[in-house]
């Protein structure tokens, strides 16, 4: 049997609400007995994804929701974060930014995608122009 347990959350596109998602994800991971370090890393990645969805996706329009789905199966925990923005035209860049250059030029940033990819076991970003973006993060026990 491969039973799935699902938790869904809807937050408005107001910065600060990502904390509700981070706390919920942490609680679910604790229920499913994921190790502390794995849970903490997932929470950090989730915060990043939620801020992206609120800011870059929904452009902080409080009328637009961010929908979060957490699915726990026997061998994985999947967190999907969907916004209702314009969607990306370019594919996401998971490459490590050139930190040396950024430090030299004192222009730090653009770390989000690489960071999320590093913190979870699997990261997928589905985005079509006009159809918003869904960021899916997966961790395994």
């Amino acid at each position: 049997m491969n039973r799935q347990e699902k938790v869904t959350l809807t937050i408005p596109s107001i910065l600060g609400y990502e904390e509700v998602v981070v706390e919920t994800v942490g609680a679910v991971a604790r229920v499913k007995r994921y190790p502390f370090e794995k849970t903490s890393k997932l929470q950090t990645a989730v915060a990043e994804a939620c801020v992206n969805a609120i800011e870059h996706g929904n452009k902080e329009n409080p009328e637009k929701d961010v929908i979060v789905t957490i699915i726990c199966a026997e061998s994985s925990m999947v967190v999907s974060i969907k916004d209702f923005g314009e969607g990306h035209i370019k594919p996401p860049d998971f490459q490590m930014p050139d930190l040396k250059k950024q430090i030299e030029e004192k222009k730090l940033g653009g770390w989000g995608m690489y960071l999320m990819r590093t913190l979870v076991d699997k990261l997928e970003v589905d985005s079509e122009p006009g159809d918003g973006t869904t960021t899916t993060m997966i961790i395994y026990p």
Binding site: T44, A47, W111, G112, Y114
Partner: protein
């Protein structure tokens, strides 16, 4: 004559700056993210001393943008031959710090578990 003791200067809800005993201490609380990043940049302009301590003891959440602002203070301090350290770091901070391999790129950065250890390093 009675003189009112100067307390920390506040920059928004999450950042305050205290300048005492030759050390500029920046206290950060709550969510080290979007808004706090702006507050940190503002606090950075008011730093008076060449010894800087960043206290992250009250930070519950960190994102890459907040980390970028924090690193801005550290790199600026290093460039200006100031002594800087970060104390009371959270797991969210460590997650980003390690993932970005920031210790490799900014080897001058010093981190301590407590403020007392940080003070000892700076004095």
């Amino acid at each position: 004559m009675f003189r009112k003791k100067e307390g920390p200067i506040k920059f928004g809800d999450n950042v305050s700056l205290e300048q005492k005993d030759g050390i500029s201490i920046i206290y950060v609380s709550n969510n080290l993210s979007y808004q706090t990043a702006d507050e940190l940049r503002e606090a950075r302009t008011q730093i008076k001393y060449d010894k800087i301590l960043l206290d992250l003891g009250q930070v519950r959440l960190t994102t890459s943008r907040g980390m970028g602002a924090l690193m801005g203070i550290v790199i600026d301090a290093v460039d200006n031959n100031r002594k800087v350290c970060i104390c009371n770091i959270s797991n969210h901070f460590i997650n980003i710090f390690e993932a970005m391999e920031l210790a490799k790129h900014v080897p001058e950065i010093k981190m301590f578990d407590t403020i007392d250890e940080g003070m000892e390093y700076l004095l």
